[in-house]
């Protein structure tokens, strides 16, 4: 009975540790902290669980929570339609050999919707093309 209670306590502790560390970007950091722990919790010692068993419990709990953390998006999902419209805005704007305030405004409407990778794609496309046209904006190009 006592062993069961202590085991439950150890699992609960593992869940708490898991929840406290699951948002940490580097999971290896979490593992390192656990491995370097020099003092065993008294409850664990009293229960007869070895440090290796506790590690297994903690790892099991972390592994169960890891997929949810990994699936959390860091950036909005790709918006292919907005990307296509942004490319169209760049192409249309540059087509007459000028990049104007109106072209910039047209692009901005789509640009702000783009996630990071797609925004960078648009910026790369535009800024490598600007030297070939006459830039007539009164400030930033985007």
């Amino acid at each position: 009975m006592k062993r069961a209670a202590l085991t439950a306590l150890a699992i609960a502790a593992a869940v708490v540790v898991g929840r406290a560390t699951v948002s940490t970007p580097e999971s290896t950091h979490t593992e390192r902290v656990i491995e370097h722990r020099s003092v065993e919790p008294s409850a664990v010692q009293a229960s007869g669980l070895t440090a290796a068993e506790v590690r297994d419990i903690v790892r099991t709990e972390l592994a169960q929570q890891a997929p949810a953390a990994a699936a959390a998006p860091e950036s909005p999902p790709a918006d292919d339609a907005a990307l296509a419209r942004a490319h169209a805005a760049v192409d249309a704007g540059l087509a007459d050999g000028r990049w104007t305030n109106e072209d910039r405004e047209q692009l901005r409407r789509e640009f702000v919707l783009l996630p990071q990778a797609q925004a960078e794609e648009i910026l790369r496309t535009l800024f490598t093309s600007l030297p070939r046209v006459k830039v007539e904006v009164d400030g930033p190009a985007v």
Binding site: S75, P76, F111, V112, L113, L114, P115, Q116, Q118, A119, E120, L123, R124, F127, T128, L130, P131, V135, V137, D138, G139, P140, A141, V142
Partner: protein
């Protein structure tokens, strides 16, 4: 009358002595060297209506910055970056900032230098 003139002279001298060091830096764009600089307020206060310098920062679905400058002769240059460090630096630009930035062959910003100091004039 003589006393009045003397007092005015002394006040004038005192004013000059306590005004502090001042610098005006209008916009320079060096396309060949891939860099540009200038004080925002100096560009704003310049006699011409051509030059300007600055950076903007996007913090929407993505994060990026564009720095841009046009000198009095109309030479324009702009660069972009998604580098977090450069973006953070660009966010420290104020109305009286001295700004320097540089770019590479693909017009990506490679550095942004922001200096906020007393010698630079305010916008008028």
């Amino acid at each position: 009358m003589k006393k009045l003139i003397t007092t005015a002279f002394l006040l004038s001298a005192l004013g000059a002595a306590t005004a502090g060091y001042k610098q005006t830096k209008t916009v320079v764009v060096q396309g060949a060297n891939h860099n540009a600089w200038g004080v925002l307020a100096s560009a704003r206060n310049s006699a011409n209506n051509v030059e300007y310098i600055g950076c903007n920062v996007y913090s929407a679905s993505s994060k990026s910055a564009n720095c841009f400058a046009k000198d009095a002769a109309g030479v324009y240059m702009t660069c972009w970056t998604s580098d977090t460090g450069i973006i953070n630096t660009a966010q420290n630009i104020s109305a009286d900032t001295y700004l320097y930035f540089s770019w590479d062959a693909s017009n990506m910003c490679t550095s942004v230098y922001v200096e906020n100091a007393s010698q630079y004039e305010p916008k008028q």
